[in-house]
């Protein structure tokens, strides 16, 4: 599963310039031969390892690399960089 995890992390990094959070469906497209359940397992593992974090709008949930993204800092009380 290490390879698959690498693919996911690389995907996050390659997109990080424009957006840091992605829907579950985006990862299905990375693994066209895998069933959704298998892809979910990889992501859940990455969450458990502390590599990936969930992000929620309340109604929907997205995945992102831990610590990455503009909202993280703001939410924990820091001011955004001017």
């Amino acid at each position: 599963m290490a390879d698959e995890k690498e693919i996911i992390v690389e995907y996050f990094k390659s997109k990080a310039k424009t957006k840091t959070k992605h829907y579950f469906k985006d990862f299905l497209e990375l693994f066209p031969d895998k069933k959704p359940r298998e892809v979910k397992k990889i992501l859940s593992d990455l969450v458990k390892e502390g590599v990936v974090d969930y992000w929620s709008s309340g109604s929907t949930t997205m995945y992102g690399l831990k610590g990455l993204g503009k909202q993280e800092e703001v939410e924990e009380g820091e001011q955004p960089k001017d």
Binding site: F24, K25, S56, S59, T61, G77
Partner: protein
């Protein structure tokens, strides 16, 4: 109190329970701190909350922002992040997140359980709750980020209770009180709700759906938990055999010895109970008759709307061959308009271990995860992909009960294997009969 709240104070007048009075009472409790707690979030948070709400009453605008925090470690739901947009004025509610706590189906509690929960929330939260949220969870309103894990730890270790759902996952399922105190329950709503909640914990805590998904379980067509209006997968109790009639009890209703409609109309003088006008003539499928002595029901034509049973509960009882209908795709209006659940399965026995129901659910999920767009509810996918597709993925044969009326256009897209010879045609053969 820290702030003057002249506008909110006006919500303390009038008879209906006042949330403002209640929050003030909680603020006073925290200020007095009778248990000598070392409060883990600001002691004056309730006062700050009232100050912030007063400001909203003045501004007529909310002062909350959303935050993306989702839950405790490893969970993708159960927590909603909230931050106030005037943190300097109201530091006690600067970070004020919501936690959803899984409720027992039917919402029967012991005071021991409730007191334990109150103690945790007294120490680690604002002391404010929703009993309950719209989906059914116990909602704990207002705590800081560091307390989320601590509350979860105490909930799981000391109370043996989990968080509920939020985000793109299975939401906390809900059931009516069912067989626990209702004679109309056609199946054990609470048990199937509990069992499926347990069986689908991974779907509930680790989001991998296009959007939210709700189960609700109503024991009968009266629909007290609004399954048909509010859940992607609605299980509504029904029966297939005859309504049971106690003719003596019918006469007792007619004679005025029993109170019609279980006493629900006793606050106004509606005149003497008239079985013909109030029951027979109101039956939607006109399947009943009353000859002055005997009530007759043509059960083959009964559509089980519950009106006669609701009106004469001591005389009429649901049948014995009980189960449920399954309706799919209900949702609130955003985006494409509100949808009511559409009938998929007319009757299913709802019995442990619920494999028949689970097979339908999992077939639907497989389809929806694969085909659903981001933020598309099942009902919207059904509209986009067709009801036929739903039938196909659930291996259901189309039947006349699936529709109110047949289609009124002939734009029928037959599949290739439905037409003899398929779509490949022999042009030479055609030309042998037709000139160009």
């Amino acid at each position: 109190m820290k702030f003057e709240t002249p506008l909110l104070d006006q919500l303390e007048q009038g008879p209906w329970p006042s949330v403002v009075s209640d929050i003030k009472q909680e603020a006073a409790h925290r200020a007095a701190n009778p248990d000598g707690l070392d409060y883990q979030i600001p002691q004056d948070c309730c006062e700050d909350l009232l100050g912030l709400l007063e400001l909203s009453y003045k501004d007529m605008e909310t002062h909350w922002k959303h935050g993306g925090i989702v839950g405790v470690f490893g969970y993708g739901g159960g927590v909603i992040g909230r931050y106030c947009d005037q943190p300097e004025m109201f530091p006690g509610v600067a970070h004020f997140h919501t936690m959803r706590v899984a409720q027992p189906s039917g919402k029967f509690y012991s005071t021991k359980f409730l007191r334990q929960l109150c103690d945790i929330w007294d120490l680690r939260g604002s002391g404010l709750t929703n009993m309950h949220g719209s989906t059914g969870d116990i909602v704990l309103i207002g705590t800081t980020t560091p307390q989320l894990e601590e509350v979860f730890y105490q909930l799981t270790h000391e109370m043996n209770n989990d968080l509920g759902g939020s985000g793109s996952n299975l939401r906390t399922p809900a059931a009516c009180m069912g067989m626990s105190r209702c004679e109309y329950a056609c199946y054990n709503t609470q048990d199937v709700c509990y069992q499926l909640t347990e069986d689908y914990q991974d779907e509930l805590h680790r989001p991998a759906f296009p959007y939210k998904f709700k189960f609700k379980f109503d024991g009968c067509p009266n629909g007290c938990v609004c399954a048909m209006a509010r859940s992607d997968f609605a299980v509504v109790g029904t029966w297939r055999d005859d309504i049971k009639i106690d003719q003596d009890a019918v006469k007792a209703y007619v004679g005025g010895e029993y109170t019609p409609n279980a006493g629900a109309h006793s606050g106004r003088d509606w005149g003497k109970f008239d079985i013909q006008a109030e029951v027979i003539d109101r039956c939607p499928s006109h399947c009943m008759s009353w000859d002055g002595q005997k009530l007759t029901i043509d059960n083959a034509n009964c559509v089980r709307c519950m009106h006669c049973i609701d009106t004469m509960p001591r005389a009429l009882r649901i049948g014995d061959d009980r189960g449920a209908s399954v309706l799919c795709g209900a949702k609130a209006p955003v985006v494409d308009g509100a949808q009511m659940g559409s009938l998929l399965v007319p009757f299913v026995k709802v019995e442990q271990p619920y494999d028949e129901l689970k097979e339908i659910i999992e077939n639907i999920w497989d389809w929806w995860i694969e085909e659903g767009k981001n933020r598309e509810r099942l009902g919207e996918l059904m509209k986009r992909a067709s009801f036929q597709k739903l039938l196909e993925v659930t291996n259901t044969e189309a039947q006349a009960f699936h529709v109110k009326e047949p289609r009124n256009n002939p734009y029928i897209f037959f599949k290739e294997d439905e037409v003899p010879g398929g779509f490949k045609r022999d042009l030479a053969d055609y030309r042998s009969r037709h000139q160009r």
